[in-house]
């Protein structure tokens, strides 16, 4: 549970971002919208951490487009993602294959093939059925 609340002014103060920039990041979905209705809502530590993370990457000379890439694919060890997204592929009741990232078309085909073979093995058949 997040308890500490920040106003946008406090967030600016703590991160060094201008209010214009923070509003823009919310608008672009880089950080979640504030809690509560409209512009007057509150921000939490999760917002603060995300902004600090963006700031650190900017100080390394990264542009926002690059930062968006890093935020999407890069996992910084000290900042484990709050939720991990796994995609579930059911094989049989009680058996699932979990994949942590999006697959491209050829990988997806391979996966389907694996599931097909797995099903057939589980049913007692052979893999060259």
């Amino acid at each position: 549970m997040e308890t500490k609340q920040y106003t946008i002014e406090e967030l600016c103060e703590l991160t060094g971002f201008s209010r214009r920039t923070i509003r823009y990041y919310v608008q672009e979905g880089l950080i979640d919208p504030p809690a509560g209705r409209g512009r007057g809502g509150f921000y939490f530590d999760s917002h603060l951490n995300k902004l600090r993370q963006i700031k650190a990457l900017q100080d390394d000379g990264l542009r926002l487009s690059q930062i968006q890439e890093v935020l999407k694919i890069g996992k910084k060890p000290e900042m484990a993602p709050l939720r991990e997204i796994w995609i579930r592929y059911p094989v049989e009741p009680g058996i699932e294959i979990h994949i942590q990232r999006e697959l491209d078309e050829s990988e997806r085909k391979k996966l389907v093939e694996i599931i097909r073979v797995a099903k057939s093995i589980l049913k007692g058949g052979t893999n060259d059925e």
């Binding site: 823009y24 990041y25 919208p33 209705r37 409209g38 926002l64």
Partner: protein, 816 residues
């Protein structure tokens, strides 16, 4: 994003902008313009409308207000981020708020916040500016859309926001709003003609005060610049205008240094001055130039190459994502190299991708010529659609005058700030070519500027009291107007004349310029001073060294100074914004969700080859002295305007037919007064002048790379000279061939005679276009003088020049 949160972002949806109206008053060079943008929210929820739009880069924005629910809310200038906070606070409270940011001197972002369902808001932005002048011509310019800028990969974000986001609106193939323009030109009696190369306009109350100029259509597509040319009967004169307040006075100095006839003559004979500087034609072949633009650029380069003098070093470089030079090092101009260059240009296409202009410029700035020549003039042909303007300016400024840049803006909506700013940074001059406008006169005009003498160490004696001059270091050339502003302590400078000193070609020169009171200009000089000062400060930020403390302090000081001037004079800058807050009663406050609506804009016509714009039917009106005031609507079809295309490849304008065509009989006064007249006497005068100009340009095009000019059928017909007569006379030419030349007959008699005739025709009949033909004639003369010196050509016992002069004198020149 879920709509349980108040901030919604959506790119599609109804466009809350209904229309744009531009009202302007023009007096001489001064313009005061109000841009009104009408917004209406037809949605069920409140909206925040964000509209990015262009204005002229020289405009001093001095008023911002919002009219909403019968109230007028005046905006005020605040530091950029503070202004945003005021805006943001107001929106948070549910009030209405209006914000105008300057992203570039020619790109602005308007935010209209919390526009409640069913309500309307009219935003009014007022600016003043001095219009560009060239001789007797004054140019009113208004951009209408923002072409997509190329932003280099390595360009850093601005305060954490991508540059792309700051500069670019969303684009649409069609939009529901349009533009209407109404201009009033005061003291119309001083004008000879008014014309627009870009739009159909209605011109009323000619010669009256004011002349009314409006767009013929009620609403036009905002996909091209609007340009209006006003030709005055007299040229601008050097003069200083003084604006007094209690404590200080502001001066606008219009300085038009005349050419020194002695120097000019010497130059024409020797061409010595120009030979030192190498010329590089730098042609933008990026994708945005596809279509009309690259064709225009190619024609301009061709015209330039034909006009170069023998012996000048030159090169042609084209660029996009990559760049390539025609010659590895600049080559000396000769028939051979010129033909190679022309063939190269003919095959150019806009196929080089992005607009990476820094790389070729860096290369040109660093490479040295074969003989340690490092002084270069770059003629850059581009639409200027880049987002890294100031980096490019910095690069050129660092060359300290060693590299001069003469940018030519191509297209229906080029980046005016880039073109003019680069000209300022590179100590050169800029020019603009709208699609369909004739290229040759503009290019020749620019060529004339290459040869102008720079006035160095220009010092103006404003008086002894503290002063603030803008620009601090004015760049002045003989023959070109320059304007300098000053803020001086005390209610008056107490002088009737200003003394100026400078050096031209190493010689000390002095000028004295009359000081008059400012009401003659009709513009607030303090505002113009502030704008010029802000620009001077903004553009003086050179070479920011990353991480340098000292540099950072300097930057901050400059920024503070800009903010102070901007707030004191109410003139917008890139460091400040205009903000207006509409406080609302509790019942009117916005409470529900607010939808963000970014206003889509049209792409510039012709950009990236999108759409084509061949000579938009121009409208122009002439004003003669012999006709009383009257009102007439001029709607001239293209058949009335004998515009001859000078496609260099085809090159077959038919002057004979043009001259033979009898002008329509002068209409009766009754007919004039009743309107609906298509041609009338002063229009004829104007047309005659066009015929004459066409003829001049055609003659200039006859020059061959080595310098000779060959008379062709079209020119001969127009001049009333029989070509067969020339051929017969040339056949009787005798020459003295020196012994060592006996093996070859090196000259073409027809070419020699034609050149002698054409030089004399230009010199004796086109004196008023001296700047246009000076270079061409100079080059032809050197070529001819050399031949005369060696071979002494004679016809019927007369020397060639005397024989040619009798033919030149009998030529029929269209007069006006």
């Amino acid at each position: 994003m879920s709509d349980e949160f108040g901030l919604l972002s959506s790119k599609s949806g109804p466009i809350p902008l209904i229309g744009v109206k531009v009202d302007g008053d023009i007096l001489g060079r001064g313009a005061r313009v109000t841009v009104s943008q009408r917004f209406r929210n037809i949605e069920k929820t409140a909206v925040e409308a964000v509209y990015k739009f262009p204005l002229p880069e020289g405009s001093a924005i001095c008023r911002f207000k919002a009219q909403v629910n019968g109230r007028t809310i005046q905006g005020q200038v605040e530091e950029r981020e503070e202004a945003f906070e005021i805006y943001d606070d107001a929106l948070t409270k549910g009030d209405g708020a209006y914000l105008l940011d300057e992203e570039r001197p020619n790109i602005f972002t308007l935010s209209v916040g919390n526009l409640n369902p069913g309500t309307e808001a009219v935003i009014q932005i007022e600016y003043v500016m001095l219009l560009d002048t060239e001789g007797k011509r004054v140019r009113f310019f208004l951009p209408t859309t923002i072409s997509p800028r190329y932003i280099p990969d390595e360009m850093a974000d601005d305060n954490g926001i991508p540059v792309d986001e700051k500069l670019h609106p969303p684009y649409a193939a069609d939009v529901s709003y349009g533009l209407f323009i109404a201009l009033r030109i005061h003291k119309g009696s001083l004008l000879d003609s008014v014309e627009s190369p870009t739009h159909q306009v209605r011109i009323e109350n000619l010669k009256g005060d004011p002349i009314n100029v409006t767009l013929s259509a009620e609403s036009v597509r905002m996909d091209r610049d609007f340009i209006l040319y006003m030709d005055f009967a007299n040229s601008q004169v050097s003069r200083a205008y003084q604006y007094r307040t209690d404590k200080e006075s502001f001066i606008q100095l219009d300085f038009l240094p005349e050419k020194d006839p002695v120097v000019e003559k010497r130059k024409d004979q020797s061409h010595g001055e120009g030979l030192k500087r190498e010329i590089v034609f730098l042609v933008d072949c990026s994708g945005s130039m596809q279509g009309d633009s690259i064709q225009e650029a190619k024609r301009a380069v061709e015209a330039c190459i034909r006009g170069l003098e023998q012996g000048r070093r030159f090169n042609v470089v084209r660029f996009g994502s990559s760049h390539e030079s025609l010659f590895p090092k600049a080559e000396i101009y000769s028939e051979k190299t010129a033909n190679a260059a022309l063939a190269h240009v003919k095959n150019m296409d806009a196929d080089l991708g992005g607009t990476e202009i820094l790389n070729p410029l860096r290369k040109i700035c660093s490479s040295k010529g074969k003989e340690r020549i490092s002084y270069k003039d770059i003629i850059l042909l581009t639409d200027g659609e880049v987002g890294n303007e100031s980096e490019v300016f910095d690069l050129i400024k660092k060359s300290n005058g060693r590299i001069r840049v003469f940018p030519v803006g191509i297209g229906a909506g080029c980046n005016e700030y880039f073109i003019k700013g680069l000209g300022r940074a590179g100590g050169g001059a800029s020019e603009f070519i709208f699609p369909g406008e004739r290229i040759e006169p503009k290019v020749l005009g620019l060529f004339g500027k290459l040869e102008q003498d720079m006035i160095t160490d220009l010092a103006i004696s404003w008086g002894t009291r503290s002063l603030d001059q803008a620009p601090a270091l004015p760049v002045a050339f003989t023959g070109s107007p320059v304007t300098v502003f000053a803020r001086v302590e005390g209610a008056s400078i107490g002088k009737s004349k200003l003394a100026l000193q400078g050096r031209v070609n190493g010689r000390e020169e002095a000028w004295a310029i009359e000081v008059v009171d400012s009401y003659e200009t009709g513009l607030p000089i303090p505002v113009l001073w502030a704008r010029e000062k802000i620009r001077d400060l903004e553009e003086s930020v050179v070479g920011l060294v990353r991480g340098s403390r000292q540099e950072e302090r300097k930057q901050n000081q400059l920024k503070d100074r800009i903010i102070e001037i901007s707030k004191t004079f109410g003139v917008l800058s890139q460091s400040t914004s205009y903000v207006a807050v509409e406080e609302r009663e509790e019942k009117d406050k916005t409470t529900g969700e607010v939808t963000l609506r970014k206003i889509p804009v049209l792409l510039t016509i012709g950009w990236h080859g999108v759409g084509r714009l061949k000579a938009a039917a121009p409208t122009f009106a002439g004003i003669a002295d012999d006709v009383e005031c009257y009102q007439a609507e001029l709607d001239l079809g293209s058949d009335e305007i004998s515009d001859i295309s000078f496609e260099l490849e085809e090159n077959v304008p038919v002057f004979d037919a043009l001259l033979m065509k009898q002008p329509a009989p002068p209409p009766t006064m009754e007919k004039l007064r009743s309107g609906g007249v298509k041609a009338y006497p002063m229009f004829k005068k104007r047309k005659q002048e066009r015929v004459r100009t066409n003829l001049l340009l055609h003659i200039l095009n006859l020059q061959r790379p080595e310098g000779g000019m060959i008379l062709d059928g079209a020119a001969a017909g127009a001049l009333g000279i029989e070509l067969s007569h020339i051929h017969r006379a040339a056949g009787r030419m005798t020459v003295r061939i020196p012994v060592h030349h006996i093996q070859w007959m090196p000259i073409d008699p027809v070419l020699v005679l034609s050149t002698a005739i054409l030089i004399q025709i230009l010199e004796s009949h086109f004196g008023d276009h001296y700047d246009r033909w000076r270079n061409v004639v100079g080059k032809s003369r050197s070529w001819l003088d050399e031949i005369i010196g060696q071979f002494r050509p004679e016809i019927d016992g007369q020397d060639i020049m005397s024989y040619a002069s009798s033919i030149a004198n009998s030529a029929r020149i269209p007069r006006f």
